[in-house]
C-alpha cells in the first residue's frame, strides 16, 4: 500500500511540475505559436489533474474503479449504493468537459487571431511584432 501512496503522490506532483513547465513556456517563449501550444498543454494538464483528483481506488482492491455510469436501470437502492462504492467522482469529469469546450472555443479564436497577426506582421515572434508595430498612432 505504501508503494501505492508513493506512486500516486509522485504522479500528482509530476502533474504539478508539468503545469509549471507549461506555464514557463507560456511566459518566456517568444514565439506566439509556441505560447499557444504551451497553453494547450497547460490546460490539458489541468484537465488531467482534475480527473486525478476525482479518481479513487475501491476499498476491495480486486474491484477496479468503474466509470460513473449506471449500466442498467436500478432495481433497488442497494444497486445505487453498490455503484457509488466503486465509481469514480463524476463532478470533476463534468468540470473538464465544460473546460474542454471552453478551451476549444478560446483556442480556435486565438488561432484565428494568430493567423491574421501573421498576415499583418509576417512573424509570430513577439519582439519582431513589437518592433514592427512601433508606436502606432490612433
Amino acid at each position: 500500500m505504501d508503494v501505492m501512496v508513493f506512486a500516486f503522490t509522485a504522479i500528482a506532483i509530476s502533474f504539478a511540475i508539468n503545469i509549471a513547465i507549461a506555464a514557463y513556456g507560456i511566459f518566456t517563449d517568444k514565439s506566439l505559436l509556441k505560447k499557444l501550444i504551451s497553453l494547450i498543454i497547460f490546460s490539458d494538464t489541468l484537465a488531467a489533474f482534475a480527473v486525478l483528483i476525482g479518481f479513487r481506488l475501491p476499498s476491495v482492491l480486486s474491484d477496479y474503479p468503474s466509470p460513473p455510469i449506471l449500466t442498467n436501470i436500478p432495481e433497488s437502492v442497494d444497486y445505487l449504493e453498490e455503484i457509488s462504492a466503486k465509481a469514480v467522482d463524476p463532478v470533476p469529469q463534468a468540470f473538464i468537459i465544460t473546460a474542454i469546450v471552453i478551451n476549444f472555443a478560446v483556442f480556435s479564436f486565438l488561432l484565428g487571431l494568430l493567423l491574421l497577426n501573421y498576415k499583418y506582421f509576417g512573424s509570430v515572434n513577439v519582439s519582431v511584432i513589437e518592433e514592427e508595430a512601433g508606436d502606432e498612432v490612433y
Partner: protein, 511 residues
C-alpha cells in the same frame, strides 16, 4: 421576484442570440431596435433588482431547483446589484454610442459581443459558485478579446487582442486550477459552503458532507492563485501590461463597456473573496491578513506609478487607460481596507470611474468628429465633467464622495498613508487631465473624418444622459445626507460572511 438575477442573464443571452440571427438577415432597423430595447429592458430589470434588494434584502436563485451545494445558485445582494446596475447602464450607453459611431457591418457584431460580455458579467457577479465563476470569466474574456479585435483590418487591434488573449487565457487557466484545488480539498464548489467550512472545518453540510482533505494549505494556494487572477483582470500593476495596449485600439463603444464591466470584475472578485468566502474568521485568517496588507501595499504602489504615467500622457486613450489603472488600484485599496466605509467608497469609486471614463470618451468622439459648433461645445462640456469627475475633488461629482468615503475608512483603520496616496494620485492624474483639457480648450484637435454612418445627434443623447446621471447622482448625495449611511449599511450587510452563508445554505455558522 426571486428569478430577477436569472432573468437579467436570460434577457442578455436571448438578445445576443436574436441579434446574431437577425444579423444574418437584412433587417437593419429591426436589429438596432432590438439591441436598444434589450439594453433598456436589462437596465430596467437591474433597477428593479436594486430596488427590491434595498427594500427586501438579498435574493437567492437556484438553477434547476437544486439546493445550493448540489446545483448552481445565484446570489444577488447590494454590492452585486450596484455592479449589475452600472454594467447594464454602460451597455445602454455603449449601444447608443455604437449606433451613432459605427458602420452597420461592425456594430452588428459589437451588439452581439456586448450582450455576451454582459451575460458573462452578470454570471460572474451573481454567481454563488466558484466553478461558475470560472465559466463566466471565460465568457467575459473571450467577448473582450473579440471586441478588441473588432476592427480586424487594423493590425494594432489584432496584435492587442492576441497578446491580451494569450495572457488572459493563461491566467484564467489558473482560476480553473484554483477551482480544482478547492473542490479537491473542500469537496464542494459552492462559495457559501466553502465559506462555512473555512470557518468550521468539521461542519456537515447536506449533499456535500464533510471536507475531504486538509483545507488550510489548499485554501492558501487557492486564495493566492485566485487573487492573482483577479489582479490581472483589473489591470493592477504589475499585471497591467495588457490594459494600455487594449485601450489604445478598442472602439469607444467597447471601451465604455470595459471600464464599467469587464475590468471591474477583479475588484468585485477580491471583494467577494476576501470578505465573504474567506472572511476574517476563516482558518487561514493570518495568511488572509498578510495578503490584505500585501494587497494594500501593492495597490498603493500601483496607484502611485500609474498616476505618474497619467501625468506623462498626452493622448486621450492613454490617459483613460492609465487613469483606469490608477482608479481601480485606489478602489482595490479601499476594498481590502476592511471597514464598510472604505468598501462602499471603493464601490462608489468604481461607479464614478466608469461614469467619468464614459463621459470623457463619448465627449472626445463628439468633439473630434463633429463639425457643428454646438455639438463640439457639448463634447467639450462632457470631457470637462468627465475629467472633473475622475479628478473628484468637487462635491458636485460622484468622484468626490467616493474619495471622501475611502478617506473616512482609511482614517478609521489608522491608514493615513492611504489617504495621502489617494490625494497624491489625484494630483498626479490631474496633471494629465488638465493639461489635456487646457490643450483642447484652445486648440483645434486634428479633425478626423467621421465614418459614413456617423450621427452626431444620436451621439449627443448618451452624453446628455451621462451628464444628467453624473450630476444628479452627486446632487442626490448632497441633498440627502442619509444616502451615504444607507449605502454604508447595505455594504456592511453584503460583506458579512455569516449572512451570506445563512442566505445560501440556511445554516447559521456556529450553531
Amino acid at each position: 421576484m426571486n428569478a430577477l438575477p436569472a432573468s437579467i442573464l436570460m434577457n442578455y443571452l436571448f438578445a445576443a442570440v436574436a441579434l446574431s440571427i437577425l444579423g444574418l438577415t437584412k433587417h437593419r432597423k429591426v436589429l438596432d431596435i432590438i439591441a436598444l430595447s434589450a439594453s433598456v429592458t436589462g437596465l430596467m430589470l437591474s433597477l428593479i433588482l436594486m430596488r427590491y434588494i434595498t427594500s427586501n434584502g438579498s435574493i437567492t436563485y437556484t438553477f434547476g431547483g437544486f439546493k445550493p451545494p448540489l446545483g448552481v445558485v445565484y446570489y444577488a445582494d447590494f454590492v452585486s446589484g450596484v455592479f449589475s446596475l452600472i454594467s447594464s447602464f454602460a451597455l445602454l450607453i455603449s449601444t447608443m454610442c455604437a449606433f451613432a459611431t459605427m458602420s452597420f457591418a461592425t456594430r452588428k457584431y459589437l451588439y452581439i459581443l456586448a450582450y455576451l460580455l454582459l451575460t458573462g458579467v452578470h454570471g460572474f457577479i451573481f454567481s454563488g459558485d466558484v466553478f461558475h465563476l470560472y465559466v463566466s470569466v471565460e465568457l467575459i474574456a473571450i467577448s473582450a478579446y473579440a471586441i478588441t479585435a473588432l476592427y480586424s483590418n487594423r493590425s494594432g487591434n489584432i496584435r492587442a487582442a492576441l497578446l491580451y488573449g494569450i495572457a488572459g487565457t493563461s491566467i484564467t487557466s489558473f482560476l480553473f486550477l484554483a477551482v480544482i484545488i478547492l473542490y479537491g480539498s473542500y469537496g464542494t464548489v459552492n462559495m457559501a459552503d466553502i465559506a462555512l467550512k473555512s470557518i468550521f472545518n468539521e461542519e456537515y453540510v447536506p449533499y456535500s458532507g464533510y471536507v475531504f482533505g486538509d483545507v488550510s494549505t489548499a485554501s492558501i494556494v487557492a486564495l493566492a492563485l485566485i487573487t492573482w487572477v483577479f489582479l490581472f483582470k483589473s489591470g493592477i500593476m504589475p499585471n497591467h501590461f495588457w490594459l494600455p495596449n487594449v485601450y489604445r485600439v478598442t472602439p469607444i463603444a467597447g471601451l465604455i463597456l470595459f471600464t464599467s464591466s469587464a475590468d471591474l470584475i477583479g475588484i468585485y472578485g477580491v471583494l467577494r473573496l476576501y470578505h465573504v468566502v474567506f472572511g476574517d474568521r476563516c482558518i487561514i485568517s493570518s495568511f488572509r491578513t498578510t495578503m490584505m496588507s500585501l494587497l494594500t501595499a501593492m495597490s498603493m504602489i500601483s496607484t502611485f506609478f500609474s498616476s505618474l504615467l497619467v501625468a506623462k500622457q498626452v493622448r486621450i486613450r492613454n490617459i483613460v487607460a492609465y487613469s483606469t489603472i490608477a482608479q481601480l488600484s485606489i478602489a482595490l485599496s479601499g476594498v481590502v481596507a476592511g471597514v464598510p466605509e472604505a468598501v462602499s467608497g471603493a464601490i462608489l469609486h468604481v461607479v464614478a470611474n466608469a461614469l467619468g471614463d464614459a463621459l470623457v470618451l463619448c465627449g472626445f468622439t463628439l468633439h473630434a468628429w463633429s463639425s457643428n459648433k454646438h455639438m463640439r461645445k457639448l463634447g467639450m462640456v462632457s470631457i470637462s465633467i468627465g475629467f472633473v469627475n475622475l479628478f473628484g475633488l468637487l462635491p458636485i461629482v460622484p468622484g468626490f464622495w467616493s474619495k471622501a468615503l475611502m478617506s473616512l475608512g482609511f482614517l478609521k483603520v489608522g491608514n493615513l498613508l492611504g489617504v495621502i496616496v489617494i490625494l497624491l494620485s489625484t494630483g498626479l492624474c490631474a496633471i494629465g487631465y488638465f493639461r489635456y483639457l487646457t490643450r483642447i480648450a484652445i486648440r483645434e484637435l486634428a479633425k478626423s473624418t467621421p465614418p459614413r454612418d456617423y450621427s452626431e445627434k444620436m451621439l449627443s443623447i448618451p452624453i446628455v444622459i451621462l451628464i444628467t446621471v453624473t450630476i444628479g447622482f452627486s446632487l442626490s448625495i448632497i441633498l440627502n445626507p442619509y444616502l451615504l449611511p444607507i449605502v454604508i449599511n447595505n455594504t456592511l450587510d453584503s460583506t458579512r460572511s455569516d449572512r451570506f452563508i445563512y442566505n445560501l445554505l440556511g445554516i447559521k455558522p456556529g450553531e
